[in-house]
Amino acid sequence: MGMTITEKILASHAGLAEVHPGMLIDASVDIALGNDITAPIAIEEFEKAGGKTVFDRDKVVLIPDHFTPNKDIDSAQQCKFVREFAHSQALTHYYEGGEVGVEHALLPEKGIVLPGDLVIGADSHTCTYGALGAFATGVGSTDLAAAMLTGKAWLKVPESMKFILYGKLNPWVSGKDLILFIIGKIGVDGALYKAMEMTGETVTALGMADRMSMANMAIEAGAKNGIFACDDITRAYVKPRAKRPWTQYASDANAAYVETIEIDCSKIEPQVAFPHLPSNTRGISGVGDIRIDQAVIGSCTNGRIEDLRVAAQVLKGRKAASHVRLLIIPATPEVYRMAMNEGLMNIFMDANAIISPPTCGPCLGGHMGILAQGERAVATTNRNFVGRMGHPGSEVYLSNPAVAAASAVLGRLAGPDELN
């Protein structure tokens, strides 16, 4: 029996010729990642366990991006704790200030994660790197502490689900809509404990930003990882960024899948996930009249330059409705600079947008865009749980950047086609 791409990466990192779903393995990690929320507990655990130096200073990556620029004294203390640890360990990949960005946009951009890698991150959206053909999964702080100490993680080999996506995409439909559609179809536990492998002609035509949006939200279906095979588009993205060798894997033709789901993407319109689950999805034509108070375009799901270009295309020559706070958050300093050089920032400012420095802030109700009771936001982020962006009595609607931008202009949930 052949192996899936997920099984091949796990086998190679466990030093085994083959692995099967259900096996518990001890795997070497290429990258162990933490942020300003999860790293403090990991560092405390690392030190409690007698840890003195991390297993490899090139492979432990710490990114303070959630409450930064620090929102209050407690978060400043928390970040200081992480900073002092990173400096004392002389970590190669520690970024802050004007160098820091949203971790899952920053790591691929800087070539820190590469195809064939095994990445664990103390952040659930670590699964984003599956877009590069890596095995990447979210873990907690204790797992991060153990990896910082030993360079290893215990993992259960997941069963794989295969998604075959075919058909040409409709206008304004992106990777975000495909993953929202899939989560709507299978539910928030539809891929619980499993690997979601994305294949098919629609997927191979997608750029890296769209693939990253899709892999990013695998966790919203309960998956352990989302993964795409490495192809010409991946290689073109990775080649100028990689500073070390990497390996590409592909699933064998006779690999075993627990389920195969085929989706005709030509039938999909832009999607919106209604409160309070990412699976409460509807096509944009069926959203009804939902007035919004805030629109957020950014995050590890949709804060890349491609996302900002789409938003600018919709916002050019238009203004956000007077009752809407439109927030634009470039995910990294490089995205910020590109948006500036391409003239996108002028378009956003002319649209009365607020341009934020790179941060995860509003996505998790941290800072920079908290909702009051009864307020509604449309956001390109990944979660719309109760209280996610602020008051437990507020609401978050998830969409792609084009829908978020059009909704900001019209002051209610709407697709870009309504602007014409």
Binding site: A122, D123, G140, D143, G222, A223, G366, F385, V386
Partner: protein
């Protein structure tokens, strides 16, 4: 491993934002996290919960964020164990890694009202509801590796024990 306690019931897809909202994650202090435990699912829970109580929930408990603050808040609030129809993957791992006992039971949820007293025997894999002692429910057995983690007091203690043994 045995527990007996009064249960608090929650539904399906109780996410980590409901268990411990991100607005409180600018600290790692256990007591402070406990004081906001389950707040966005039930604002009175932190005041009502007593040491030894048990949380019973539906499918996909702990979905969402990787924040270990979620099992920490539950454990620090004094909750003895969580019994759900199913758990989200990262929460499942985190609970074992830091020593919060959790059990999967598809049946229990539909058979108990909030406030019922439930006994859990993790060794025999049986749950009994007070008043129906003659009818025990089976819980999904914990894989041996996970039992080892709990017996060793969590992942890092397990690693240290292994390292000491191989030294």
């Amino acid at each position: 491993m045995k527990f007996q306690g009064k249960i608090w019931k929650f539904g399906d897809n109780i996410d980590t934002d409901a268990i411990i909202p991100a607005r409180y994650l600018n600290t790692t202090d256990h007591a402070s996290l406990a004081s906001h435990c389950m707040e966005d699912a039930d604002p009175d829970f932190p005041k009502k919960v007593k040491p030894g109580d048990i949380i019973v929930a539906g499918e996909n408990f702990g979905c969402g964020s990787s924040r270990e603050h979620a099992p920490i808040a539950i454990k620090a609030a004094g909750v003895a164990c969580v019994i759900a129809k199913s758990f989200a993957r990262i929460f499942y791992r985190n609970a074992f890694n830091m020593g919060l006992p959790i059990f999967e039971s598809k049946e229990l949820y539909g058979k108990v009202e909030e406030g019922a007293v439930v006994s859990v025997n993790g060794d025999t894999g049986l749950i009994t509801i007070s008043g129906t002692e003659d009818e025990s429910l089976k819980i999904t057995p914990i894989p041996p590796f996970m039992q080892e983690l709990i017996a060793d007091g969590g992942l890092l203690n397990h690693i240290m024990k292994k390292q000491a043994a191989s030294a």
